[in-house]
Symmetry: D2
Subunit: 306 residues, 4 copies
């Protein structure tokens, strides 16, 4: 008989908030509708809590929980990626009968197809999908699904500075005020622009679900334009022109995502929590700039109805 | 006159939880006692909140806040690293008069000197120092100081499994029960061991301070032994022997840190929050294992006095 | 007509060694035999050289080269992952008619199934697959396929130090020399052990191919044992026992890989280049240790036949 | 007497190209002229080769080599950062008498002060300094010093596309050809711009030295403009205007660095090797673009004198 060290009483009777494993990579399949299933290399972190009377958790049971759920996918892929995490936390609670809470975090790269804006060239796009699920033994459950989407943002402040200076110079060159206005609304005026990353994360309940694709659309609504792995010359022109018609601060990005979420998630209950983050890799600085908002849908509705 | 875009009303009147900059690197000096000042390359993230009536924050004021504080250090280095972050959030609130909350996060590599355990060879050790400070305009302040310390941990479970099997084999070889006990308490028995990282983070108040050095000692108390950049053969022997006398799970590590903290921070008020994390880069797995506890000192005192 | 800036003469007539794109992620399929195709999220870096009479390369052609090759895989997956990179460099040379050399680098995570050593529990393992291909317009081609495989290594030096000290103590306890020998060959003696990563990379020619699976076996031959995402107690015992029977320095690891390669790649021509690296994340240090060898198969054969 | 495992004959008599340690962090001081010494957190990788008759290198001697050199700096800081690496490889050869070659690689973050272009606000800039040194026992030595510098680059192609389209629209609005020319040379025209990183690395000999500061200037010559941690509005306007007057491809960046190097390093012997790399974090793509050139100064001189 092999000794079972984990089940002993610990010398120090201290409760632990979470014990588990980080960075477990698994291949999973998600399938919705009639298309081919999406294959994801998903990285999981899983935890349970631990009371002061047990030395250690039985970690191999945590892996079995994940494996059991993932093996079951071969038979029948999940429709919603968050179902996977919910199944994992439920299996964790079954396997760790001494725990009262289980948590599972997942992140995966999702490769999507999309077409370039003018030439319609077919290309691939990489988006991160996130999922967080926790469940208490009393049945309380908290589940979030999220996406992290790259894009491009242009700075409105620098563009106005450049415009103001250009207007001054054009007037000095003899153009009239009316001509200057016409020129500056015709010529896309320079500013700094950069890679940005938008994060949208929303609470999911038994009665309220949001597909990742809809979150991707909300994330994109908050950036100056989408980015592409391939751009023909006519596409590159269109992207740069659109970006410069649509400059925004990180503050604007978060606010636009919030507005788009409220407008498109009409079926979301007021008490659903939603989180937005925009982070820009500023091209004129070595640091990034970032804005965040966390609120309930109800709070955002109130702010936007004012 | 250059236009001032940030001060305008935004189109979408949504409040922002935080707006700011991430990854600002600065050289800072901390000096305590008579020694040479410690030079730190510190990376700062700073944020303020933003009400729905202003389009953007004035980011350059955030950098001025940091620069002003850091420049003042050339004249007079801070004694406590957390004072730096408190000065930064206070200056942020001054500079951003429209904000009601400011936050500053800092992480820096601290290079310390230490001697190897047997040969006494002088070597350097790298430890991360963390600081988090937030302040509300009404004066409420929350400050944490923390450390992340590397070390080595050995697994008690695998060691007991190996011991049990070795005992069986020794008895089969004809050794008596008493001899087997003597042998297994004399020969350091194999197990898997690995790099671990301990994090200890504690709340600081106007009346309660903890030097980073004391947190480093608490962090080290929770690992099987310290690690060194150079080890002579006699040192390497000593380290491996000590590690195998002192095996521990991540659960044990967090509990030992909690116990050591309660024992050594006798002057800490009950309502102080403290956080512990142990993460081990398991040598037998591709994933890491981790345990955490967050509690007040009072809660830990209660658990440990039972 | 949109202007074509890249085709112009540059102001500064300097030749460029390589121009291209880094970090292009694509989903690809590799299929050998009757099993399901392996799905890889592959990251590509692609380059061509540039003569001094042209301002810039036409980057979109590089993406088209990759896309064209990858789209063709939907119809008919490649059998050998290196064929993909060869097809890419050949398409790059076609599309960039001004270039005389094209290069393609690929890295992908491959998720494999394997069973734990005793309980036979089915689990997944993550291995990196690398491919490098370059081709000159005159037809010269250089192709490498490689793998990076995790494992565990135990230090032979510390184990001997611990054994020598334990022998001394056992003799002091009254055990005879013969008993001490028996004890130390029966009890797995402690040492430090850690995660290691082995890299094997080998040149591929039109007449000489090696499947990635064989390289994975060579890589594993140079570590103390394999690692697993899940280990039942009986498995954990077996892994730790095997690791401690088989301690090795990074130097030993590289030499063992070299010997295994020579023994198993009997069909490899003498002029094939092969590269080995072992890097260990030392559990007793903050730094890693590493050994490397690059040689032709012929050179290794000569060294090993001495 | 402790056993000395490393000095034994290995079972497998294979030569090793390099054996050593990676990621050793040390605090070092470099001092030139009368200013305060620069404090660097330097990360070293050090290696020696190993013949087939010795099982392992004595790693602790490698650390002693570094420590000995670094301790000597407390007494007298080095003037040139590459002297440090040369001292290390020389000490490595002394300590590892069985090795015929030693290598040392160093990278460090250097924090420099600089002023913003218009307001003259004092700010800090982070630049990476690299050093590579190798020495053979026969005295042959190869030393490189390098820098990695961030900056901003704007795309000339997109700018010309936008200009061409804007010209078309302006003419449709009734502006004459002459007016259109005037307008497009007065208004900074939009394009995509992004963070770039330039690397310059040059061979150093006993008779030829280059200060890191000069390499930083060469690196900056190849980007559209410098970037800053803080920018007042008048600075931001100036940076964006300058960037858009000076658009460049990665190809242009490398060529400009090559030209600047040839012009400013007039004392460099023809046989000195120099390396340039420009990598741009494209704001319109998820991937980066990159160009490189490696050549002797003599080769570049020949190409540029044509």
């Amino acid at each position: 008989m092999l000794p079972d060290v984990q089940t002993r009483e610990p010398d120090i009777p201290v409760t632990l908030s979470r014990v588990g494993a980080k960075g477990i990579k698994k291949l999973v399949m998600v399938k919705r509708g009639r298309g081919r299933p999406a294959i994801l290399i998903s990285t999981f972190d899983v935890f349970v809590n631990l009371n002061p009377t047990r030395k250690g958790i039985n970690l191999s049971r945590s892996f079995e929980a994940i494996d059991e759920v993932i093996e079951s996918l071969t038979a029948k892929p999940v429709k919603w990626v968050e179902d996977l995490n919910v199944m994992i936390v439920e299996t964790l609670l079954e396997r760790h009968d001494y725990a009262t809470k289980a948590e599972a975090y997942m992140v995966a790269e999702l490769i999507l197809r999309k077409k370039t804006p003018v030439s319609g060239y077919q290309t691939q796009e990489v988006v991160n999908v996130l999922c967080e699920a926790s469940k208490e033994r009393n049945g309380d459950k908290k589940v979030f699904i999220g996406v992290e989407v790259p894009g491009i943002t242009a700075c409105p402040c620098a563009q106005e500075l450049v415009k103001a200076k250009a207007a001054e110079r054009l007037r000095a060159e003899g153009f009239t005020g009316e001509e200057v206005s016409k020129i500056l609304s015709t010529v896309p005026v320079a500013t700094h622009n950069q890679r940005g990353r938008a994060v949208v994360k929303i609470q999911i309940t038994d009665g309220f679900k949001v597909p990742a694709e809809q979150l991707i659309d909300i994330a994109k609504a908050g950036m100056s334009y989408e980015i592409y792995e391939i751009l023909k010359r006519e596409d590159e022109l269109a992207v740069v022109e659109e970006v410069h018609k649509n400059p925004m601060f990180v503050e604007d990005s978060v606010r636009l995502m919030a507005k788009t979420a409220v407008e498109t998630l009409k079926h979301a209950p007021d008490n659903i929590t939603i989180f937005f983050r925009q982070e820009n890799e500023e091209s004129i600085h070595q640091h990034n700039v970032m804005a965040e908002r966390v609120a309930t849908i109800g709070e955002l509705r109130a702010e936007l109805s004012d």
